[in-house]
């Protein structure tokens, strides 16, 4: 029987990792991720997790260790936050370019300068184009289940996968979580099969210099150039859209919990006003929706679980009756607007949906986002626009702009 425990998001992540039995773990401390690496160290030292734990001297090295260990054929894990993720930047690209199914937890935190240890999503969102799948969780149950799903997804499409969840809001907050049974996880997650082996039996030089054009190998077979390798990564991201949905369905069948795959919906059946976002802020928005529905407003939430791949088709379908769309996000693309708003607008372009998309920046550096503030923001939007006026207007929620 699976057991229910009251645990934090970080504990949920560490337990999920243990269930997935990685062979190599490497991590470097940074708040609010640190607890995961401490727990995994303990699990390894006490024999609960049979893995090599490499206590590296930086996040750059943490991901480097995993890249090479994964190439040798080991399932691997790391976790980081904020500046730690940014310090990995070069290796994020290298991991994706190498097509390695590395799984990492990014416990979302604001980025310096100035320093903040508190939550927003600027860290992972700024790594959008590194070639990683990015999945965002709403609560601790979703964290434990998403980490397990992440290995399945990553190892099926050979794309590294980041499981993102909000620092402190989830990482340090307890809730009851059902722990999946080890035997069932084993059943769900087949052993890792590398696509290339680093092995003296089959000597080859991996990731050497590529030329812009395709070249023949010694047998005269024309081989990929750099651009073909890039195309294949993008092609497999397209495939990952289906895989993420599929894995969610299979997970639901086995474990009985459904996260919607790429997106999830709340009270959208009759809605024409939509709130959207990622992670805990989208979960918070469901409470705002409950309150507003009592006033007869037909409003619902579309939560975006997969930021990469971005679920365009799903969103077009979900927003098909939208009159107004409101995006709450914990990151900003300086000089433009909230990055998620740009993505939503781009997804809807040419779809026939011409609902205005309202852009809200909220909760940067841990600034509290209360349900009543979301309600006020939604009300304000409805009064202000009644439909149209939102061009080039970004609203900073609960921020003094003196």
């Amino acid at each position: 029987m699976s057991e229910i425990r009251i645990i934090t998001g970080n504990e949920a992540a560490a337990l999920a990792v243990t269930l997935c039995e990685p062979k190599v773990v490497a991590a470097y401390p940074i708040t609010p991720q640190t607890k995961i690496s401490e727990l995994l160290s303990m699990y390894v030292e006490t024999g609960t997790l049979k893995a090599e734990y490499v206590r590296v001297e930086s996040e750059h090295s943490a991901l480097t260790v995993l890249i090479s260990a994964s190439t040798v054929g080991a399932r691997v894990f790391t976790a980081t936050s904020s500046n730690g993720l940014l310090y990995m930047h070069e290796q994020l690209h290298w991991a994706a370019g190498s097509r390695l199914p590395i799984v990492m937890c990014c416990v979302n935190r604001g980025v310096g300068a100035p320093w903040s240890i508190f939550n927003d999503q600027q860290d992972s969102m700024s790594q959008r184009d590194t070639g990683w799948i990015q999945l965002y969780c709403r609560d601790n149950q979703e964290i434990i289940d998403t980490v397990i799903q992440a290995y399945r997804i990553a190892e099926q499409v050979y794309i590294p996968t980041m499981v993102c969840y909000d620092g402190f809001v989830l990482s340090h907050t307890m809730m009851p979580v059902e722990i999946p049974e080890a035997a069932q996880v084993k059943n769900f997650l087949p052993p890792y099969r590398p696509h290339t082996f680093l092995d003296p039996e089959r000597p080859r030089t991996i990731n050497p210099v590529f030329f812009p054009w395709r070249r023949e190998n010694a047998e005269g077979v024309l081989c990929d150039g750099y651009m073909e390798m890039r195309y294949k990564l993008q092609r497999d991201f397209d495939t990952s859209l289906e895989v993420i949905e599929d894995v969610n369905v299979q997970y639901t069948d086995l474990f009985g919990r459904n996260y919607g795959g790429l997106i999830w919906e709340y009270q959208t059946g009759d809605a024409d006003i939509f709130v959207t976002g990622m992670g805990s802020i989208a979960q918070e928005a469901t409470l705002a929706v409950d309150a507003l529905r009592e006033e007869g407003i037909k409003i619902g939430v579309v939560g975006i679980r997969s930021f990469r791949p971005f679920p365009k088709e799903k969103l077009i379908h979900a927003f098909s009756r939208a009159r107004i769309i409101i995006v709450f996000q914990k990151a900003i693309s300086y000089g433009n607007e909230g990055g998620l708003s740009t993505e939503v607008k781009a997804a809807l372009y040419g779809s026939g949906i011409d609902a205005p998309v309202h852009d809200y920046i909220a909760g940067l550096g841990g600034r509290d986002v209360k349900t009543r503030e979301l309600i006020a923001a939604i009300r304000d939007t409805l009064e202000r626009s009644g439909g149209g006026d939102c061009k080039n207007k970004t609203t900073w929620l609960n921020c003094h702009r003196g």
């Binding site: 062979k23 190599v24 490497a26 893995a51 090599e52 490499v54 206590r55 590296v56 001297e57 930086s58 750059h60 090295s61 943490a62 480097t64 260790v65 995993l66 890249i67 090479s68 260990a69 994964s70 190439t71 040798v72 054929g73 080991a74 070069e90 290796q91 290298w94 680093l198 092995d199 003296p200 089959r202 000597p203 080859r204 030089t205 991996i206 990731n207 050497p208 210099v209 590529f210 030329f211 070249r215 023949e216 190998n217 010694a218 081989c223």
Partner: protein
């Protein structure tokens, strides 16, 4: 145990068609390194001349498995290979991280220091051609005083080279050695020995480079020998803290006479703008180091 030329493994691991320059000191060293380590070896490679030597996809002239990684991370990459081999229960494979001086002294020092502190079970070999050659001979922390590089084009390098042997000694690793492709038997023996030792082993390879140092390609061995004859590059071994001079350096310390550094300097165009003052400073630097090593030597 003393090997001679006839005892060296006859098998070649680098096939014709490597991409290195004519007369490349790295090619000679790499050939003997692989002969010593043999087929059950995995090589970790950072961006460098070694990466180019391995060839352009999809062809390579090297017959052992190799993994390219980013510039700063070669020792971490090797740590990952070692960790996975351990976890997958394959302890019989030798892991070699081979980096240039840039990938060792400069951008690679952090991951190397971490791996050495953890006493990771691998050989880290630095082929020291004393500049960033792959990007066109820019100054590195290993460039000697007085050398012209493309980033010290007029005034030459003002500072001495880092003493990397001392840096690695401070990590208390079980084996440290210096080798030169001009003395292949000494090189071969040290790699054979290193292969048998557990933990982090650091080997520094003096790597004469015709285009980077400015001498004719046929003179690589000659320049390598002059580095040893002048004492600017002593051949040594440090095992569990005990230093031993080897080969020609040992003979020189006992009975020979070191040549003045000018004989080494005058053959290389990179020193063409060196001042007399710099030459004297370089000579003092060499003398001091040589005396330190010979005083310590426990031969």
């Amino acid at each position: 145990m003393h090997e001679n030329l006839f005892k060296i493994n006859e098998k070649e691991y680098i096939l014709p068609g490597s991409r290195a320059c004519q007369g490349c000191g790295l090619s000679i060293a790499y050939r003997y390194i692989l002969k010593a380590l043999r087929e059950n070896t995995i090589v970790a490679i950072p961006p460098s001349c070694l990466c180019v030597l391995h060839g352009l996809y999809p062809n390579t002239s090297v017959t052992v498995p190799a993994l390219n990684i980013t510039f700063a991370g070669n020792a971490a990459s090797a740590s990952g290979i070692v960790a996975a081999l351990t976890a997958l229960n394959r302890p019989d494979i030798t892991v070699l991280a081979l980096s240039g001086d840039g990938g060792t002294y400069d951008i690679g020092i952090q991951s190397l220091s971490g791996a050495a502190e953890r006493n990771t079970d691998f050989i880290f070999a630095c082929y020291d051609n004393e500049a960033y050659m792959n990007t066109g001979t820019q100054r590195s922390g290993a460039t000697p005083m007085g050398a012209v590089t493309t980033t010290t084009p007029v005034l030459t390098k003002k500072d001495h080279k880092k003493d990397f042997i001392r840096i690695m000694e401070a990590h208390n690793i079980p084996y440290i050695a210096t080798v030169s492709p001009a003395y292949p038997i000494d090189l071969y023996e040290k790699f054979v020995k290193a292969k048998r030792i557990k933990g982090t082993r650091y080997i520094q390879i003096d790597t004469p480079c015709p285009p980077g140092w400015g001498y004719p390609a046929k003179d690589t061995v000659k320049i390598g020998k002059l580095a040893v004859e002048t004492g600017i590059f002593p051949l040594l071994e440090i095992e569990d803290g005990k230093l031993r001079l080897t080969g020609r350096s040992n003979t020189l310390s006992v009975k020979g006479k070191r040549m003045p550094i000018i004989h080494y300097v005058e053959r290389q165009m990179r020193f063409r703008k060196m001042s007399i003052e710099q030459l004297n400073q370089l000579q003092s630097w060499v003398d001091k180091r040589w005396n330190d090593f010979t005083n310590r030597a426990d031969n």
